[in-house]
């Protein structure tokens, strides 16, 4: 604390204030002034499924610009089918065998990936609690699956909060990151996302992810997969609102449906 005293005294001196007189934030109410978030929060919560679908459309088109391969899945089964397809078809990068790690999240646990990848030579890990072997398991995995708390349409961002069962490395260390975003967690822009974040007790660590890892350090040539995942697949879990909503021509909506058969087969 001593270093702090001297340091802040120097600052007060620099500002032309009496150096030893500590200033308190209560004397300057404007400094930490809070804007009223009620309106923003109400807007987020009152969004109709149709409005959310519009946001999904914006998200998908922005995702494309950032090389995120994003698609809409209408049900958990479809999400699982899309994941199974990726696990089966994607190449390994650092490891000889196929391991997959996913967050301990109800949406992901419900996919029962272990069941539909049975007999495929794939090991599935779940990031349960304080598992001390998790580091090794994550390093061994070529795919990491998470269910982000918030999605932001405007910048195609997903926000991942660190909490028990949802460690940071799952979306970072494996070669491929798959995020399953529930449509109801989608907001329009960063201002809305910050309002939501502010409302909760912010965790010590969280991250906004907008795309796969990339670099342009060698002659300004864009390369994906610098240190983080080289691919980011975003599955927006979006149950059909009504007939019209499904048929909005949103790109990518049809794709996962094609996997359905394959998936249903594996489920037997």
């Amino acid at each position: 604390m001593d270093s702090q005293q001297t340091f802040l005294t120097t600052i007060r001196k620099s500002l032309g204030l009496p150096p030893t007189e500590e200033r308190s934030k209560t004397t300057f109410p404007g400094l930490f002034r809070q804007t009223n978030k009620a309106e923003i929060l109400a807007r987020i919560r009152q969004r109709t499924p149709q409005e959310l679908d519009k946001l999904v459309g914006i998200l998908l088109s922005n995702a494309k610009d950032l090389n995120i391969s994003a698609s809409v899945v209408a049900s958990r089964d479809e999400a699982a089918a899309a994941i199974v397809h990726l696990v089966k078809t994607k190449n390994l990068e650092f490891t000889p065998t196929k391991h997959v790690v996913h967050h301990d999240h109800p949406d992901l646990n419900a996919l029962q990936l272990w069941k539909c990848l049975e007999g495929e030579g794939v090991t599935i890990h779940t990031t349960f609690g304080p598992d001390r072997q998790l580091r090794e398991k994550t390093i061994a995995s070529f795919i990491g699956i998470t269910a982000p708390a918030i999605g932001v349409a405007e910048s195609a961002t997903i926000i991942q909060l660190t909490k028990p069962g949802q460690p940071r490395s799952t979306s970072l260390v494996p070669s491929i990151h798959i995020a399953v975003l529930d449509r109801k967690n989608l907001v329009a822009d960063l201002a809305e996302a910050y309002a939501l974040l502010k409302e909760m007790a912010l965790p010590d660590s969280f991250v906004c992810i907008s795309g796969p890892s990339k670099t342009a350090d060698i002659e300004a040539t864009m390369v994906h997969g610098a240190h983080g995942p080289r691919e980011l697949h975003l599955l927006v879990l979006s149950p059909p609102t009504n007939e019209i909503a499904i048929d909005t021509g949103i790109p990518g909506t049809e794709e996962p449906v094609a996997f359905q058969e394959e998936y249903l087969q594996c489920k037997k």
Partner: protein, 493 residues
């Protein structure tokens, strides 16, 4: 001072000349400026919220005016999250603290996220001296480290190297087959660095923006290296210049968006990570210790000077580099500092000595482009001119001596002459007389002697004319002046 030795070329001049002579660098700089510099200008012009930059600047200045309160709040909230905060008055304090943390944790390898502050305080040599391996993990910085070179751009550190040079470097240092294909080279670095990052005990990063209200630092990166360095090692130490803080979460959002737009026209960087403390006991990953080192190292002196306080509003986006015509020609090495370009030309002398870096502010053209592109509307040209003023007249506050006394005498003499017509005319008369030995056959002065040599180094100078303008006027036109009665009658009508 009668000896006619020309001013020796400074490091700035030599490096600038080398930059200008490199076609590779010229092409890269042009590429980056055309894309990002112009892009940022266009973006600001058509941005919906035209008040945003102004608002953020105001909040930056307000934070600076209450920096004691804001930093105390930040420290309090980070400590509440279990993080440790150390206030370092000098570079040495910051180094000592970091070394102590490393020693306590038995650190053998440090992986770094790109941080200019770490270069400012020169922490790498100190760590290495203590027997600790230091690995840069940003691809550009890693290449620079392998090459034993220095970065030349705030966000594109190895912009001065081409793919062939990098390919050769990787063959020599990493032992891979030669390739000049950027994806192949990137993948080679990805593999090599992954091992380094998974096997390091300490991650050392900077801090892009801390948020006092929530008790976090935030770090931006596109590669993911910073996330790696703050997740996989057991200890995370973040070095932060004391001005890199905002008061509220709202301010954080607006400032962050200007930062990523200004830097590379991104709505957000690929990763924006927030850290406030060590991993919880229930977290299976993340650092067991989190240290935030808040560094003064000369900043309080800048804060104290109203003329320069504004420069602390800088969010280090690098936009001013991407628009500056001087940086665009000479490149970053000439600035000989972790901070280059227009922002470097202002902040380097202030942090490290105005006399020592005298060439920096003189090299810039004061065209104003950096002010126009700056997301926080920093008036760098004004501050460059203020620095020149200090060099011309000296400054006690900044411990600056007159940079070029001979030049000062010359101007004092000039002032005397132009304010005394008789003296002026007499000296012209002498000048005309004494210039003849220097006038060449083409009626131009090709080279001057003494202090004036520089004037004729790259161009010829016309000699003083035989007759002055006043003399010519008298002779040719005075007779044609409308006579007074006519002028008066016109006025009357």
């Amino acid at each position: 001072m009668s000896k006619t030795t020309p001013i020796p070329p400074s490091d700035y001049r030599t490096a600038a000349a080398a930059g200008i002579a490199s076609p590779r660098l010229q092409k890269s700089l042009q590429g980056i400026q055309n894309r990002f510099g112009k892009g940022a200008m266009e973006f600001w012009a058509k941005m919906d919220d035209q008040e945003l930059r102004h608002r953020v600047k105001e909040s930056r200045m307000n934070t600076l005016a209450h920096l004691d309160i804001v930093l105390a709040e930040l420290a309090k909230n980070i400590r509440a999250r279990g993080g440790q905060v150390y206030f370092a008055a000098t570079a040495q304090d910051a180094i000592d603290y970091t070394l102590a943390v490393a020693k306590k944790n038995n650190v053998k390898r440090v992986v770094k996220g790109k941080s200019m502050t770490s270069a400012e305080i020169a922490i790498d040599p100190a760590l290495e001296e203590a027997g600790i391996e230091v690995v840069e993990t940003d691809l550009g910085e890693y290449i620079i480290q392998l090459a034993g070179d220095k970065p030349s751009h705030i966000i594109a550190p190895c912009i001065h190297l081409d793919r062939a040079q990098i390919g050769q470097l990787f063959t020599d240092k990493l032992g891979i087959d030669y390739s000049d294909d950027p994806p192949t080279l990137t993948m080679a670095a990805r593999k090599a660095l992954r091992e380094k990052m998974l096997g390091a005990e300490m991650g050392l990063t900077g801090c892009n923006l801390a948020c006092a209200e929530t008790g976090h630092i935030s770090l931006v990166s596109n590669e993911g290296n910073i996330r790696m360095a703050t997740t996989m090692p057991d200890v995370h130490v973040a070095l932060m210049g004391m001005e890199r803080v905002v008061a509220t979460f709202d301010e954080h959002r607006e400032t962050l968006q200007l930062l990523t737009r200004g830097a590379a026209l991104q709505k957000l960087s690929t990763y924006v990570s927030f850290q406030g403390g060590p991993a919880a006991l229930t977290d299976p990953d993340g650092p067991r210790e989190f240290h935030l080192v808040i560094i003064d190292n000369g900043r309080s002196k800048i804060l104290a000077d109203p003329e320069f306080r504004e420069v602390l509003a800088c969010i280090r986006c690098g936009a001013c580099l991407n628009i500056c015509p001087v940086y665009g020609k000479i490149g970053g090495h000439a600035y000989d500092s972790p901070y280059c370009g227009p922002i470097g030309a202002v902040v380097t002398p202030l942090l490290d000595g105005i006399n020592k870096h005298a060439d920096l502010c003189k090299g810039e053209t004061l065209c104003g482009a950096c002010r126009d592109v700056c997301p926080v509307e920093n008036d760098l040209p004004r501050m460059l001119a203020a620095l020149r003023h200090k060099l011309a007249y000296g400054s006690d506050r900044w411990n600056t001596s007159q940079h070029n006394p001979a030049e000062a005498y010359a101007f004092a003499l000039w002032k005397l002459l132009v304010s005394h017509p008789v003296l002026y005319r007499t000296s012209l008369w002498f000048g005309k007389l004494f210039q003849w030995p220097f006038v060449r056959k083409n009626k131009m002065i090709g080279s001057l002697a003494g202090l004036a040599t520089g004037w004729t180094k790259d161009r010829d100078l016309p000699p003083l004319a035989g007759q002055t303008f006043a003399q010519l006027w008298k002779k040719k036109y005075a007779a044609r002046r409308p006579n007074e009665s006519r002028a008066q009658s016109k006025e009357a009508s």
